[in-house]
Symmetry: C2
Subunit: 213 residues, 2 copies
């Protein structure tokens, strides 16, 4: 944990919930860390480099975090917490199955455009968790929330289509995540054209995930 008593928010505050200055600094550091991590990857992002892209000096990291691993885990958790709601609007606002497919495909492509460094960082950390035990638990937990996020889309799509899903949550997530990762990979070399390809794939694949009415 931290270097102080852990301050589980609202330790005697009125209403605005300032979450403690300590926690705010942690988040601030995490946000800086995400920039550097997304640019260099887990292995090559040193604490000095991370601190260099922040308003602080390199020593301050160990005041707010026990070690590099805790900072990284805190950072990716902080980022992914925002992400898991990315497709909720799609699910909520789509009135027909076709509309949902279009909105989902567009959103997938857009997030690669907007946040490619964050996505490659996520895949980097998930892969590192196959080598480093310290990462495994956090990564597994986040991955489960992503699977749930995708399942909300697929399940709603099935409902709107009046047909049952033909695959389970894990398979649906695995397949779509595979396509997404592939698109991300080639996007970093080939750029924009890849994304229309991804949208087309999603339009093809989503219907395949449903069975007969």
């Amino acid at each position: 944990m931290s270097g102080r008593l852990s301050s589980s928010y609202d330790a005697g505050v009125t209403a605005t919930r300032p979450v403690d200055k300590f926690d705010r600094r942690r988040t601030e550091l995490a946000e800086s860390a995400l920039l550097t991590l997304g640019e260099l990857g887990y292995a090559r992002a040193s604490l000095r480099e991370i601190a260099g892209n922040s308003p602080f000096s390199h020593g301050v990291v160990h005041y707010y975090f026990d070690d590099k691993l805790e900072l990284v885990i805190y950072s990716i958790r902080h980022y992914k917490a925002r992400c898991v709601t990315r497709y909720d609007a799609v699910v909520r606002d789509s009135a027909t199955a076709g509309e949902l497919v279009e909105a989902f495909a567009a959103k997938l492509a857009q997030t690669i455009r907007d946040e490619a460094p964050m996505h490659r960082l996520w895949y980097d950390l998930r892969t590192q968790s196959m080598f480093e035990d310290g990462l495994r638990e956090a990564i597994t937990e986040i991955d489960a929330t992503l699977e749930a996020m995708i399942w909300r889309v697929v399940d709603r799509y099935a409902t709107l289509s009046g047909r049952p899903p033909a695959v389970g949550p894990a398979a649906a997530y695995g397949m779509l995540d595979g396509l997404f990762q592939q698109a991300l990979l080639t996007y970093l070399s080939a750029g924009e054209p890849v994304l229309t390809g991804l949208s087309a794939q999603v339009r093809t694949v989503l219907p395949l995930m449903l069975g007969r009415p």
Copy 2:
């Protein structure tokens, strides 16, 4: 390249094609490197560690390879060259569509059982290629051969089924690779049971990849 004139095999040899002692040592080193890389991952596998798991000392690496990157690329190429034929027997020997699905699903599960470290290394390097330009070209090339490998399976499956594929090579590879990677990830935590799940997923998903006759 190397530290010597590059010896593109058979520089005046009779028949057994000894490929040159130089190239044999390169391969020998590459095979040792694969062990260490598969255990520690790209970032944490140092040249000293790699050499330590080989019959040689750490300095010899730079006699056979220019730098770490060339060694790693040579190693993964060496490994994947053997891999791309993994499912060829399945394609060749299956007489019915159902037989092919079964054989393919079994083979996928078996290679996770047998070569998990090599597979996680591959995903590690592919992810690193999103951060390191020096890896990109080799990774992209290998990935294309894997896509072709998967397509041979899917295409043959379509033929045996008397139905056309409903998705292209890229999408088929992306989806199956996603499932495979997911299975690998959870296999490293949960072990054997995951693999029967993977087989089940493949039995479900492959038929979904075909259209109407």
